[in-house]
């Protein structure tokens, strides 16, 4: 399992990848963000979650520094005991939510990924 971001001709990186980057460039490579730690940009704890989602659900937008290029991701946290600016690292999770419980067709996407935990 990887956390695959796309790198584009102009050097920009996005997670997830797109057929064209933010400036219209084609992807030229990938970066596995699970090899990196990240910084918490902001976070919340969602108390009212949809079917198949853990309750409460700790969520954050985190930012990676990939050789000077910033790239962000939305991710679950292992805990709500975090602050803006904290360093977090990925922990693999086989099923981030129950694929069969929500409105989205289970076969249409993957359901594993990474939760992030604070780096002590």
């Amino acid at each position: 399992m990887t956390m695959e971001a796309h790198r584009y001709e102009d050097g920009s990186i996005t997670y997830p990848g797109h057929p064209r980057g933010p400036n219209g460039d084609e992807p030229v490579g990938t970066v596995d963000l699970s090899d990196y730690t990240a910084e918490v940009v902001t976070w919340t704890t969602s108390q009212a979650t949809p079917p198949g989602v853990r309750e409460p659900n700790h969520l954050a937008i985190v930012e990676f520094d990939v050789s000077g290029q910033a790239v962000r991701a939305l991710c679950q946290l292992t805990t709500g005991e975090v602050s803006i600016g904290d360093e977090v690292r990925p922990v693999y999770c086989e099923e981030l939510r129950d694929p069969e419980a929500g409105i989205r067709e289970a076969a249409s996407q993957s359901w594993d990924g990474y939760r992030f935990e604070p780096v002590e």
Binding site: Q47, A48, N57, I61, L74, I84, L96
Partner: protein, 384 residues
């Protein structure tokens, strides 16, 4: 290109309704035609703003059903789905149909039936607009609001109470709106102590789940005068998108779609934020009222919270915002909300807003889909 007038408007009671989507749409549609004194056979185009009648109710094909129910056959029909901004996008489509000359009389009806679903189910239907990498994290639109509110409060040193004051203001306005889902005042303490939903946002920072519909009737201005002297003109309309994946935005506290659609609407209307007398903003979450005020130029970046502290946006303030009670108090039947914003601005401009009436010649409505993913801004002016 003809100037486009709005000559009739209606909205149903918002809240928990026994009626299903077809009945809700027909209720607003017939009331709107009656309001304007226009017969159904005069309708050439019929647009229905609706996000998810198939997902919520298992009823698709609603535009054709509505044309039949209104006796508007053989009018051209089209569904407009732009998630929570379906109503605003419907205004854009209706304006286009008349401005282009394709239609001489266009009826727009927006509606949604939601309350038969649990909160979790309704939240999931709405969250299905997200990208797979977002959806699998269990993200909801309220959690996007929590993420953004925390960053806004931290970055701009805004007091948490300022968001509660948005809820208090809009609930107070809702008391004056007979169609509102909640006609109940709250105080800051109640909002600050309510159950947490998406930290730091609490229950009263969020709009409810709602059934309801609203309608507007459009025609060329020269035709409007055949029916009435009291009408409004759509002087500017702009539509724009931002990234589908919310975390890819450079600045999470700036809604690019609001900025771009607002600029487009202002340019078309040849007005600026200082010219606007009354505004309906998409307060699905209290933080969105601040982000739209800043994106539309009503306040500098990071400063909108100061305007609620000053009372600027209260109904007797310099710029009344959400005189209808907003989505917060009036309710948010997804496809209806943008149309209901237009209803409120129309009523304010023709002097028929009852207890909510303010002195207004220029009104603005901003309808936001997703978490700023797609936005339509409309400027309306009173007939001269």
């Amino acid at each position: 290109m003809p100037d486009v007038a709005v000559i009739g408007a209606s909205m149903t009671q918002f809240g928990r309704r026994e009626a299903w989507i077809r009945e809700l749409l027909a209720e607003a549609g017939t009331a709107c035609l009656d309001d304007a004194g226009v017969s159904p056979e005069a309708v050439e185009h019929l647009y229905v703003s609706n996000m998810a009648s198939g997902e919520f109710e298992g009823q698709t094909g609603v535009p054709n059903a509505l044309a039949h129910d209104l006796a508007a056959v053989p009018a051209y029909t089209q569904r407009v789905d732009q998630t929570s901004a379906s109503g605003g996008a419907g205004i854009y489509a209706a304006w286009q149909s008349v401005a282009s000359g394709a239609s001489g009389m266009t009826l727009l009806v927006g509606g949604e039936k939601m309350t038969h679903r649990t909160t979790g189910e309704a939240t999931d239907v709405i969250a299905s607009l997200t990208h797979p990498v977002e959806y699998k994290q269990g993200v909801t639109l309220p959690s996007f609001a929590g993420l953004t509110a925390r960053l806004y409060l931290d970055r701009f040193d805004a007091p948490r109470e300022s968001l509660a004051k948005v809820a208090v203001k809009n609930h107070e306005n809702g008391v004056r709106n007979p169609h509102a889902q909640f006609r109940k005042e709250i105080d800051v303490e109640t909002a600050m102590e309510a159950p947490m939903v998406a930290d730091p946002l609490r229950l009263y920072d969020f709009c409810p789940i709602t059934d309801g519909s609203a309608a507007l009737l459009f025609c060329p201005e020269r035709v409007a005068r055949e029916y009435t002297d009291e009408y409004a003109v759509v002087s500017g309309v702009g539509g724009s998108t931002d990234t589908h994946v919310v975390h890819e935005r450079v600045d999470p506290t700036t809604m690019g779609g609001v900025v771009d659609s607002g600029r487009e609407a202002y340019e078309m209307a040849d007005v600026g934020p200082d010219d606007v007398d009354v505004a309906e903003l998409h307060d699905m979450f209290t933080i969105l009222e601040f982000l739209q005020m800043e994106g539309l130029g009503f306040a500098p970046e990071g400063e909108a919270w100061r305007e609620i502290e000053r009372g600027t946006t209260e109904i007797d303030g310099e710029l009344p915002v959400n005189t209808s009670g907003g989505l917060k108090s009036k309710g948010h039947p997804l496809g209806a909300s943008g149309v209901a914003q237009g209803y409120e601005i129309y009523k304010q401009l023709v002097g028929d807003a009852g207890d909510r009436q303010v002195d207004a010649d220029v009104g603005l409505a901003c309808n936001v889909g997703g978490f700023g993913n797609c936005v339509t801004t409309t400027v309306m002016e009173a007939a001269k």
